[in-house]
Structure formats: structure tokens, C-alpha cells
Symmetry: C2
């Protein structure tokens, strides 16, 4: 039988989709084989390179009616191939270096299928059994990676019902929210005449403790999820205090101390200091030990957002970049970033396994008192068994395998920075610390003058340069051979003018120096087509007296 028959609605036909597998020679069967045998080939073959405008794609996804009649799986699959897969993003392409999504190790694909087939629900042991100790084990391994406690510590706490070394979650945002939720409840605990903010609410907590407000201190490079967390938790986005950074995109601890003092003097309470453990936009890491000192001094929760950079701890060579992370009260790490696990594997770790008591929940039919159900200490309820993929990746690649990947990424970024610096018509904007760097294109014969421009001149030049960078990035993306992302930062060397830059993340182990050279050449070619933008820049520079007319 080469086709799954569910064209007529009948009891019998219906049961078949639950009992009869797709035949190997069905459309879906063939796709699966192709995926198994040659994922890169499949993606390369099915994802079309040149970008189709979004509004055209939307035409295929605009019917709000749920189809009345069933459809053959093969017909539907053909539709998906032509309209969804064809216009999806080749995130595992070694030339897709703009975001944090990389190639995946092959063995995770069949394991992911196994995970889906098992369809466990990690909220409780009754629907996950061995997956619960496995997830606790994964949290233990990552906790050990960060905090390095001794064996007796893990023996005591890893599988303890009332404790948790952390929480797996869908991603870094939920991890950050969870960490700050715990911090908020711990900062406003039950005391005489007050049953705690978790129970009575935030306003009652502030009133009881006499605080005007809670604030969260983080550098201006902090991830936007922290502002989202402040909103969700009722703290308020404006109480995220963005602290200026130094010329290396690291938090200025002098400014942090000043800001903490000001919060205290105006009746506020510094709830948390958040260290950036690999900035999303530039990859830089805050001086975590200094932040730990300040957090101790002001009595704040110390959280490190290492969603991106946390995996660096797997490298003996580079883990010292995160020195001080072991002093954090909580740490966010995303396994779907530099741990090469599919999307949906975030986690937060807690130094003290009893911290999660601050957010403990129970119900009558699950996560009862005393049970080891993971749901008692997570923000999410029902959750898939993603921990299995993290566990497997850690075992199959081993720490030393990860070390190779991570060292290679960091060193590739250093090489790319050197390559860029060696070009006449590009300039590195932020040097890489991990495997992220930013740069931009600047016409060769204007480069020296642009770099020497005064603050006032820079202010006038920047819009033109920004327009050029945007144009190149957009055109390159649309052409579909390669992809870099862009962001806007305020570099010291450009007098802190908001500057649009290319941003690359070099985590894909299949990206070669040759590909990087090709990407620069492609950007140069696009820049050379941007005649009017270049002319406008040139005119501006001539008016500023920075170049002389050449005709």
C-alpha cells in the first residue's frame, strides 16, 4: 500500500492513521528517507535560495476555514514541500551565519523522532517516569558544569523531591523570567503578618517591606527578554535599569554602583543584578566576579544570562572568560544554542537547590506534596522530553567534543575579524570575545576619512553608512546564498552614534574560511551596485570637506 487512505471519513479510515504507518514509498516515507540519508542534501534541494516576498508566501496561508474533509497525507506533504519547506530558512547552512541557529549533529534527528514517538509529558512522573530522573540528571550535569559542587552535593539534592537544581524550559526567555520570579519571591518573603508576595501579590509585598519599587540592573547590552520579564513579573519595564558599557561592551561597574546607590536612596530595592554571559549582539561577557561582589554588597540576587555563552564552560581553554559565573544565584543556558540541540531546550540553574521553594506549586491530581514531579518547580506545565536530547548530546559528544566545537568557533571568529581588518573596504566594529562579531562595509577610498571624522561629522555620516549597511544586508538575504544579520549599536569609536552593523555568529562547524571570504566578496559586490546610496554618502562627505570632488 503506497498511500495512506483517509480520504473518506469513516471510523475504519480514522483508526488507520493511528495504526498504519506511512509506507516507505509514500511521499512522506521518501522524505523521511531523504532526511535520514542526507539532511543537507534535502534542505539544499528543497529550500529555494532566492527569497520570495513575504506577501506572496502569505497568499498560501490565508484561509481561515479549517478544511471540512480529510486530505491524503501525500497531497498535503507535497503542499508543505512546495509552500512551506521551499520558503523556510536554511538555518543549518554553513553560509547562514546571521543568527544562533546552527547545523545539528545527525544522531539527534532520529532521537528527536524517538522523543516525539514516546510523547512523554515531563510535568509529572506518571507521564514521564524515567524521563524525570533523566531531566534531573541533565540539570545536575549543567549545575556541576557551572558550580562544580562535590559529589555529595549532587547525591543529596539531584533527586530530592522538595529541591531542584534548576528548571528545563522552552528557551532562554522563560529561563530568565523563572530566575527573576524566584528572585522576586525571595526578596519579598513571608514574615510576621505577611504571607509573602507569591501569595499576597507584589504591591502588598512592596508595601510590607517599605520599598518604592524593585529594580533589575543590567548593562545596555542585556537581552530584551529581561525587559519582558520585568513586565510579566509586575516589576515594570522602566525598572530595568540599563547601565552603560565600556568600549568593550562590558558593563561599567562604577556606573552600576552609582545606579544601585540611587535606587536605594530613592526608596527602591535592587532586586537583581544581571550579568551578561555572552551578549546577543556582540558576544561580550560582563566582569562577573565584580558583579558578584556588588550583588553581595547591595544584597541583590545575582543572575547570569548565559543563554548564548554558557556552553563556553565546556571548553577548558576558554571557560575562564566566564570566571565568576559560579558565584551567580542563578544562570540561564540554552542548549539549543551553542550546545547544538534542536530548538526548545532552555534551562535555568539555581546555585541553592532550595531556592525553587519560592515558586512551588501543587495540585490534587498531579505534583502532589512530596512527589518528585518536575512540574512543582517550573513555570510551564506540560512539557516535552527535550532533556533526552541534551543528555544524548552530552554523552555522544562528550566534554572534549564540545571543547573542539567551541574552541573552533571562537578561533574562527578571531580569524574572520583578522580577515575583515585586512580588507580595504570593511571594518570590524566589535572584536569577538566569543564567536560573535560585528562589522560593516565602508568604501575603500573613504575609509580613512570616515574613521577620522569628528563627532559632528560622524553624526552626519552615520545615516548614510547605516542605509548602505541595511541595503547590503537585505539584498544579501533576499539573494539567498548567504545570510548575516544586522543590529544597531553605539560604538565608542563612532562617538556612540547609533550605528547599523553586520552581525555574525560563527557557531556552525561547517563554515569554512573560504565561505567567509565569499560572503565578504558578495557584500562588496552588492555595495558596488548601491550607486545612489554611495553617491549620497560621497556628497555628504564632500560637503563636510572630508573628501575632494573627483568627478
Amino acid at each position: 500500500m503506497s498511500e495512506q487512505v483517509f480520504a473518506e471519513v469513516s471510523q475504519e479510515a480514522l483508526l488507520k492513521i493511528f495504526t498504519l504507518p506511512e509506507a516507505p514509498d509514500s511521499t512522506l516515507g521518501k522524505i523521511e528517507k531523504h532526511l535520514s540519508e542526507n539532511l543537507m542534501g534535502f534542505l539544499g534541494e528543497h529550500i529555494v535560495a532566492r527569497e520570495k516576498p513575504l506577501h506572496e508566501i502569505e497568499q498560501n496561508f490565508c484561509s481561515s476555514a479549517i478544511p471540512e474533509q480529510p486530505r491524503y497525507v501525500s497531497d498535503h506533504t507535497e503542499f508543505l514541500l512546495n509552500n512551506l519547506v521551499a520558503h523556510s530558512v536554511h538555518t543549518s547552512s554553513p553560509r547562514f551565519i546571521g543568527h544562533m541557529t546552527s547545523a545539528l549533529p545527525y544522531f539527534l534527528l532520529p532521537l528527536a523522532k524517538l522523543m516525539v514517538g514516546l510523547n512523554q509529558n515531563l510535568v509529572k512522573i506518571e507521564t514521564s517516569k524515567a524521563f524525570t530522573p533523566l531531566e534531573r540528571n541533565v540539570l545536575g550535569m549543567l549545575h556541576h558544569l557551572v558550580y562544580g559542587q562535590d559529589e555529595s552535593f549532587y547525591k543529596r539534592w539531584m533527586h530530592s523531591a522538595q529541591h531542584s537544581l534548576g528548571a528545563m524550559c522552552s528557551g532562554g526567555t522563560v529561563a530568565n523570567i523563572t530566575a527573576l520570579w524566584v528572585a522576586r519571591n525571595l526578596a519579598l518573603p513571608a514574615s510576621k503578618g505577611f504571607s509573602g508576595a507569591a501569595n499576597e501579590g507584589l504591591a502588598a509585598g512592596l508595601a510590607h517591606y517599605g520599598y518604592q519599587r524593585l529594580t533589575i540592573m543590567v548593562s545596555e547590552r542585556g537581552h530584551y527578554s529581561l525587559s519582558k520579564a520585568a513586565d510579566v513579573l509586575g516589576i515594570g519595564r522602566r525598572n530595568i535599569i540599563a547601565i552603560p558599557t565600556d568600549s568593550h561592551n562590558r558593563i561599567r561597574t562604577d556606573k552600576l554602583l552609582e545606579a544601585c546607590t540611587e535606587v536605594a536612596e530613592t526608596g527602591g530595592k535592587v532586586l537583581a543584578i544581571v550579568g551578561v554571559g555572552g551578549a546577543t549582539e556582540t558576544g561580550h561577557i560582563d566582569p562577573l566576579n565584580e558583579l558578584a561582589d556588588i550583588a553581595e554588597q547591595v544584597g541583590a540576587h545575582f543572575h547570569v544570562d548565559a543563554a548564548w555563552g554558557g556552553a563556553t564552560l565546556l571548553s577548558k581553554k576558554y571557560r575562564s572568560l566566564l570566571a565568576g559565573v559560579e558565584r551567580a544565584d542563578s544562570v540561564t543556558i540554552d542548549a539549543h544554542k551553542q550546545m547544538y540541540v534542536p530548538m526548545g531546550a532552555g534551562m535555568v540553574l539555581f546555585k541553592d537547590p532550595s531556592m525553587v521553594r519560592a515558586i512551588e506549586h501543587h495540585a490534587e491530581y498531579v505534583i502532589r506534596q512530596g512527589s518528585k514531579d518536575l512540574g512543582a518547580h517550573t513555570m510551564e506545565g506540560s512539557r516535552p522530553g527535550m532533556a533526552m536530547l541534551v543528555y544524548s548530546a552530552l554523552h555522544v559528544m562528550g566534554r572534549s567534543g564540545y571543547e573542539l566545537l567551541i574552541d573552533q568557533s571562537i578561533e574562527k571568529a578571531q580569524q574572520f575579524a583578522e580577515m575583515i581588518a585586512a580588507q580595504d573596504d570593511f571594518e570590524v566594529v566589535t572584536e569577538p570575545e566569543l564567536c560573535i562579531l560585528t562589522y560593516r562595509f565602508v568604501p575603500a577610498r573613504l575609509k580613512a576619512a570616515i574613521q577620522a571624522a569628528s563627532p559632528e561629522q560622524t553624526k552626519r555620516l552615520v545615516p548614510h553608512l547605516n542605509a548602505l549597511t541595511r541595503f547590503i544586508q537585505k539584498r544579501q538575504r533576499e539573494t539567498g546564498n548567504s545570510f548575516v544579520s544586522r543590529t544597531k549599536i553605539k560604538p565608542d569609536q563612532y562617538h556612540r552614534e547609533p550605528t547599523v552593523v553586520f552581525r555574525v555568529v560563527l557557531a556552525n562547524p561547517l563554515t569554512t574560511p573560504e565561505m567567509l571570504a565569499e560572503i565578504l566578496q558578495e557584500q562588496r559586490d552588492i555595495a558596488n551596485q548601491a550607486m545612489s546610496l554611495r553617491a549620497a554618502l560621497f556628497t555628504e562627505m564632500r560637503e563636510l570637506g572630508l573628501v575632494h570632488a573627483v568627478g
Copy 2:
């Protein structure tokens, strides 16, 4: 090559795991084939029936050290098979009728693998492209299912950048939190001299509007995630006001009105009224139209938690059970429950597509102003492309296919209730409205006396009956042939004494009446072994004069 070689840590070996697929005759290759050809056979073969004690399973998951050296994929896979898969839960077994996890249609397995292989990140178009319109389409289809707006409505809003018909998320808990987050921010909006609670925080919002507190009203059958939401959002768990239910487990609207009045009179603001659209424990649905009236009257956000029951809207025959849901401001539906999609597919829908502006977020490198990036309106950041599975399930099964599944589930529950009622030694505790019901075992010759017991007598009998129910449920689970869950409710007929009951969810289309009869027989057999518990019950009844000694 039958084995993936990554035993030595070398650059070359490392790249192989990203470029060389698992061979078909490798351990993992064979597993995958088995999964594809016969999922049920695979699960039946590999999951051991008899429960291994948790503390023994934990022994295999207790090392906190990340292994230093890489490991063969096949060795690791063998480990997983023996220690994880063997002791996972057979959630798709037709005899596993205790929770909401059912069998999955076969075609979703290869599609899930395709989804993982594509590894899109739905936070932004740059990492998801066609997946973004697809997800907006899925939200549109479900919005249409709930609200039934006309074509022009969906044409206008479905793909609008500043709007959203809802948000996909990992599950119902995040969906409920998102709905109440929106409601909270809308209740405390910007006004003269106040930039809104999202920005200034909850306490400032309460002060500005002169509210003592916000409250969320829901029946005592409301899901525990609502209390979690109240905690996360800073509202406080005690401000979830649990309204009593009637004898059918539906909210008592007279009591609700009284409670709303009391909140207002004591300076509080009723933030939201939450209707239960299929109670987790009993399956009952609140009178949604009446709740909508009251919500209008008191000016509260009306949210319906239809995480479980929402799929009933796909049945023409039974959708009227949810009449009034179309008046809700927001609705939670989990596709991984009665829509037969794998774990991780929750969603919240918003009646008014501009509501999500209350939680809108932007950043410089993604979800920029004006972009159609989904991340601007979701609580989560990076997210996988689960929407593809919902989309596919809706197309392959069609509304009429779902109707069959849902009607069959509801009618199977009715049949099972009749079967239980016909036994001498069982009794239905809550009749099914959807496909959930609760019941318990009662020794045949004591049944009449127990049912006739006075409130005082019931209070003394209940601990014995509860112990017996717990014993049966636990033993049955450990034996591993079948699984029912248990919960504790306060039924009118037992004078609202906290009563432990068996809870079954009959959503698996492969569950047959014969299996249900076998499950009862197994419970009866276990009950017959519980000599001391039965003796204690008998003694208690004799002391109460409810039975006479027989020796």
C-alpha cells in the same frame, strides 16, 4: 559503514557527526525503522510493563559529571533503550487512560522529524520565513473556529504586523499566563501622568487607579496554572478567588456575583473572570454565556481556559457545550491534548487582534518595529515550528475527521459511565460531559449503606474508602497493564467530603469497551487483595451501625 565513528576526538571525526547520517543498519537506524514501521510494536516491545521503583531508576541517572570522552552513538542508544525507554510511560497505550496524552496519528512522526531537521526559530521571520505566515494561519483557523468572524476580518488581521489573533506557546500554562498578562496590562493602561503598568509596574498601576488589589475569579475546578499565573504576574495567589461549584462541577454564578461585589466593595478590581472549558479533573464546562454576562456587568476580562475542551468546537454535534466561548476576550486551547499533536503545542487566542499591543516588545536585532516577527507578541522568545504539526493535523484529518474522534471520545465516556453504574461494586462519582469521568470502587455488599450514610458517617468512612482507592490506583499503575489517574474532589453526594476518585480520560481512539471492562476487572481483583484496608472499612461501618457483623 555500520557505525558512526566519533570515538576519538578529532576535527575530522567531529565534522562527521554533522555530515554523515546514521547508517540504516546502525542501532539508531534500526530503531528509526522500527518506529516508522510499527510505533506501537516498538513501544510495546521496549517499554517494560511492571514498574521499576523510581529510586532504582535514579541509580542510572546520578552522575553529575559530564563525560569527558565521546561515546559511540550505538552504545549510547543501547543505554537509552535499556534505561530510559524501557522505563518511560506508554502514553499512547489504549489502556493508559489516566491522563490527557493519547496515541498520535502516524503521519505526525515523520513530519515532526522534518520540523526538527528544518530547525526553524519562530521568534522572527529571518529564522522562520514561511513558518511565520503558517503559524499566523493556524492561529487564524483556530480563531475562526472559536469566534467565527467573516472572511474580511481574517483578510485584514491575520497577517498584520501590529496585530495578532493569538500566540502559540509551549502549553496551556504559558497560554493562560499570556492571557492574564494581556488582561492585567489592559486593566492598568497608560493615562494622564501614568505610562501604564507594563512600564511602571503593578504597584504603581494599582496606586494610580486606586485599586487595593486585582482578583481573578474562577471556579474551584480551575486549573492550578491560574494560581501560578497569579503568582508570576504579581497579582498574588490568594487573589485567585475560588468560587464554589454546583453538583455538576460548574461554577455557581450566584456565588460569583456575590464575590465580585465583595471585591468591589473592599476596593479591589475584578481583573478577570475565567470560565472552565473542560475541567481538568472532571471535564465539566462552566455556563460560559452567563459568565460573559457577568464579565460585561463587572467590566472584567473574560478568559476561557479550554486547554482541554477547546477541541470540542471541531464537533458540530457537541460544540454547543461550549456555547458562549465566542464571547470570551481570550481562549486557551492545547493542540497537544484533544487535537492529537505531540507535546508542546499550546495556544491562546484573542478576540480583538489589537489586544496583544499590551504586551508588545521590540529589539534592535530582531522583532523591529513594523516587522511581522511573531516574537513581538509572545511570552516566549525562541520557539520551534510546532505550528506546522497543528496545520498538518487540521488538513489531513479535516474538521470531519476530528468530529469523529471527538464524538467517539465523548460517547465512549458515556458508555463507560453506564458500564460502571451497572457494576455492583463500582460507582460513578462525576458523570462525563466531555470524555472525562471519575468513579471509585466500593465493596458490593457495603455499597448501599455507604451511599445512604449521613454526613457524620460519611466523614468517618471517607478516609477508609480513600485509602482503598489510592491503593488500587497505585498497584494498578505499578503492575503496568493499564493506568488510571486519581484526584481528590468534594462531591455533593458525599456531603462534600474530600473524596479520592479514579479519573479517566477517554481520548485514545484505540481504547475499546473490552479494554475498559478489563480495567474494571483488574481494579476489582486488586481491591480483593486489599484485605486489611477492607477490614478497616468494615470495622468502621460496624461501629457506625451501618452493617452487622457477619464474622
